[in-house]
């Protein structure tokens, strides 16, 4: 060891010694501080226990309530959201075609009218009821069904003539003429006479 190193060594020794003294001094202060006791607590123990018991009971009730309420609410909301999403996804984008079936309430009336004509004449009450209802569409539908069923032409003609088609610009066929034609088929002579009478304003 050279002489030039001696001051450094001395300094290091001195530094270590100073550090050691400082450390020892700090530990002494630490021990002296630790010997102090914090001032005792002036808490009402009975009141503390009462409040703690109250808090414990309310905390247990709250935790029990939380135990099932939140999962149940979460599950319900999730199921609802999933259902709505499924409905939205599966909903058909095609245009909805609705077939509306109109109940035909006059079939019985028409049948009654046909029965009346078979008995000899169409009852006025039946005619009135058919016209009062003003529903020519069901009557036309009934006529169409008669055609489909292969009913005779004469019967169909009687039905059409019995209709009140004034609303469509057609005059009603005279009842006695209709009745006479229904009883006897027209002859070419009768048609000719009728045409002449119409042409000459008769």
């Amino acid at each position: 060891m050279s002489r030039q190193d001696e001051p450094d060594e001395l300094n290091e020794t001195g530094q270590n010694g100073a550090d050691g003294l400082a450390e020892e001094s700090m530990r002494r202060v630490e021990a002296e501080l630790a010997s102090l006791s914090p001032r005792s607590v002036h808490l009402d123990r009975d009141r503390l226990m009462f409040l703690a018991g109250q808090a414990s009971a309310s905390g247990q009730a709250a935790s029990a309530h939380r135990g099932w309420a939140w999962p149940a609410a979460f599950s319900a909301m999730s199921a609802l959201a999933a259902g709505l999403l499924l409905t939205l996804v599966l909903r058909s984008p095609r245009e909805v075609v609705r077939i509306v079936q109109v109940p035909v309430g006059n079939v019985q009336v028409v049948d009654d009218a046909r029965a009346g004509s078979q008995q000899g004449r169409v009852s006025p009450s039946t005619e009135v009821s058919a016209t009062e209802r003003g529903s020519s569409a069901p009557e036309i539908a009934a006529s169409a069904r008669m055609i489909a069923r292969g009913r005779p032409y004469v019967e169909l003609r009687d039905r059409v003539l019995a209709m009140d088609l004034s609303a469509n610009g057609l005059d009603r066929w005279p009842e006695e003429v209709a009745r006479g034609e229904a009883s006897s088929p027209p002859s070419p002579a009768a048609y000719h006479d009728l045409l002449e009478s119409l042409l000459h304003g008769g």
Binding site: R39, L48, A52, A55
Partner: protein, 168 residues
Amino acid sequence: MSEVGPELLGRLLDEHGAALVLYARQWCSSAEDVVQEALIRLARQPRVPDKLMPWLYRVVRNGAISAARGARRRHAHETAAAQQADAWFEGGEEVRIDADLAARCLESLPMEQREVIVARLWGGLSFQEIGELTETSSSSAHRWYEAGLRALRERLEPSCHGKTNLMS
């Protein structure tokens, strides 16, 4: 893990109540109310927390800081703290230091150093726990502790020697 019962609360109050109150006094004057609220909050827990003492110190810390904010709003914190400063420690035969002077010196330290010293010396928490409590690292907590002790040594040593001489 057991439930929080009156036996545990009583034991905590007897063994750690004073240290908790001293810890809360670093922020507010209503330290006992803060500790009581912390114990009531502990009773509300369904289970005892894993790290009970750090949990309790954290609750006390948050409560004390909140109470100090309220006190500052009422402009009464400084006056009340000054009135309470001489009541931090109890004297006794085995005490080798002036309690009132120690309290005043401790109060003059920066808040970080003071908190670490109280939590370490009287709360018995490790530096790791103090670091978690103060939301810093354990090395920072240790550094603050050493700096605080150094500052206290400079202020207390003459009086300590005097007291020691008087007592010896």
